[in-house]
Symmetry: C2
Subunit: 244 residues, 2 copies
């Protein structure tokens, strides 16, 4: 595995090194609870000055990934990335058993709007039809692990915002509207830098990367009911694709 660093890239060296340390932890190169190599050793490995390594470590300490102790060393805190299952029957809470003791969804915002072309196409509605937009944050053990924007047809699902606020669950809310089962029709995956809103809502450090899923949920007979874009912080979450 090549570890290397690009200069004048628009991404500062300390941020690149922080990313690589995170990656090394994720793939098991740096064991949890163990000491990181000394700053001087890291500086040599990455071919940078010790102070640059210190900036990277400071960022990771700030993020709660590392703990530095003067005279002793810098240690990896044990926080595994959440492995989030994704498939045709993905639900937020299902499948996270054992990985987090406390999970919940928080409704941040709800609004009724005319559908953009993108949303209208996905839900098979006329352009400009009214849709309900929900902004929801997913948390596991108090840490934000997802940030979803979803759209529902306003006519059929009027009041789903209240149901969502009350139940904290999309599945439970949909049941109130007679949707007892639904499937993922399609999921498209991409990745990008977190924007300012995601940084705030997901409690991320600037420069963080988010995984983005864009999905359409349908009833078993193929009727689209929900269109959703969900952002997952790449440093905390990996997506595990489940067959079927």
């Amino acid at each position: 595995m090549v570890n290397s660093i690009e200069r004048r890239s628009g991404v500062s060296l300390w941020r690149q090194i922080a990313d690589q340390i995170l990656h090394s932890i994720a793939i098991g190169d740096f064991a949890e609870n163990a000491a990181l190599p000394p700053e001087m050793a890291l500086a040599e490995r990455y071919g940078v000055n010790r102070h640059t390594v210190r900036s990277a470590i400071a960022a990771l300490v700030q993020e709660g990934v590392l703990r530095a102790e003067q005279g002793r060393g810098t240690f990896v805190l044990s926080r595994k990335r959440l492995s989030y299952p994704i498939g045709t029957r993905t639900r937020f809470s299902a499948g996270l058993q054992g990985q987090a003791s406390e999970r919940r969804s928080v409704l941040l915002e709800a609004a009724v709007e005319p559908a953009s072309r993108r949303v209208a196409d996905a839900l098979s509605l006329a352009r400009g039809s009214e849709v309900i937009r929900l902004e929801v944050r997913g948390e596991a053990d108090g840490r934000p692990v997802s940030r979803a924007t979803s759209w529902f047809e306003a006519g059929r699902f009027s009041g789903i915002d209240a149901a969502m606020a009350e139940t904290g669950s999309v599945t439970a809310s949909l049941e109130r509207f007679g949707v007892s089962d639904y499937l993922r029709q399609s999921t498209v995956l991409s990745a990008r830098h977190a924007d300012a809103a995601d940084l705030a809502d997901l409690d991320l450090q600037p420069g963080a990367i988010v995984l983005v899923t864009v999905a359409v949920n349908v009833t078993p007979d193929g009727q689209p009911i929900q269109f959703a874009e969900t952002r997952f912080p790449a440093e905390r979450v990996e997506l595990k694709l489940s067959a079927l």
Copy 2:
């Protein structure tokens, strides 16, 4: 959709703006072949100096996403992101029909090595067993769209590097070893900044983001045959999850 910018983040403003412009193109905010808003307008929208916007545009021109014409404007070149299908029967070339007229895999490197813990676990081998590592680049219409590192048990698949170089296909190479069918046992998805090797192999600009899949392929009776980590440039590729 909130467009905003973070300062002193370790990611330069021009890089963040370049990312947002890419994103805007991807979701259709800036139509293809159409003119981007003038530099001054973009500078206002993002709350930065015009020169900073120019740096972002220069990077995207360099990447072949935009074309700037003095006196006229800056234009979006039409290059859709490749939608790469992924599921339990994913093959590199299958499913890309119609999106790219010419596809191929290039073997960059092959080596026999002792298995790391990660590789040995995935392939159900003893630690330190010999494995063959293949480094392969996927191309579509001459553009690099994937970069895979895969491992095979050395005993069973001795010579697969030659087969791969000859056929340019993992599926065809495996057939020579009596593997007529295989499935994805598991796929785990994450994202990070491209490292130096990927930047070079995928012809990316520094600071680019890659989608990373880590997958185990098994025979229909569950025997692991291939462990692979594949990096996809997020600016060129999205992953479309196919049910089953």
